[in-house]
Assembly symmetry: C2
Homo-oligomer: 105 residues x 2
């Protein structure tokens, strides 16, 4: 859920989730793909999910996903492990994530 091991990144508490911002975050093809992959993989490093895109570009997208509360990033050694904050998103927006991610393509 939400504990201090998630530092040093700021992950917003569930109470600060905003529907419009979440929809915006998912409206970018690159970010939607990241979220889809995380949903199936469970977790992944940033590098595993770049499609040949530069690190700075990926870092930008991951930050947005973190800022809206979709993704949780924790430092494990030198890599950053990302996972979906599925339970948190579900608790704030029941059914939303499933409805979006179950859409084909």
């Amino acid at each position: 859920m939400y504990d201090l091991s998630m530092r040093p990144f700021k992950h917003p508490p569930v109470s600060e989730f905003v529907l419009e911002r979440l929809l915006y975050a998912l409206s970018d093809p690159v970010r939607l793909e990241i979220v889809r992959r995380l949903a199936t993989l469970g977790e992944a490093s940033c590098g595993e999910l770049d499609g040949g895109r530069p690190k700075s570009t990926m870092s930008h997208h991951f930050r947005i996903l973190r800022d809206v509360g979709l993704v949780n990033t924790q430092t494990v050694g030198t890599t950053h492990m990302n996972s979906l904050r599925k339970d948190d998103v579900d608790s704030r927006f029941p059914g939303l994530l499933e409805a979006i991610l179950s859409q084909p393509e």
Copy 2:
């Protein structure tokens, strides 16, 4: 569904709906509110849904909602009647609209 009476506006066929574009359209507070109101009212003119905003601003938002397939606009006399293309959206993205619009706020 989709017949010629919808002219002169171009409404995309269901096959051209794109998930990301739909999410983007709904990520704007003004547009999400329009869609919410249409969902409860059934239909409404553009003027009924401006919140004191200029017509040109509203026209811009309605055009985006039409372009992504969310809204159907037909001319009735001098007013433009808008309604949600709920069945069309549902057929392409089952459960999506409901999942989004059922979220409070």
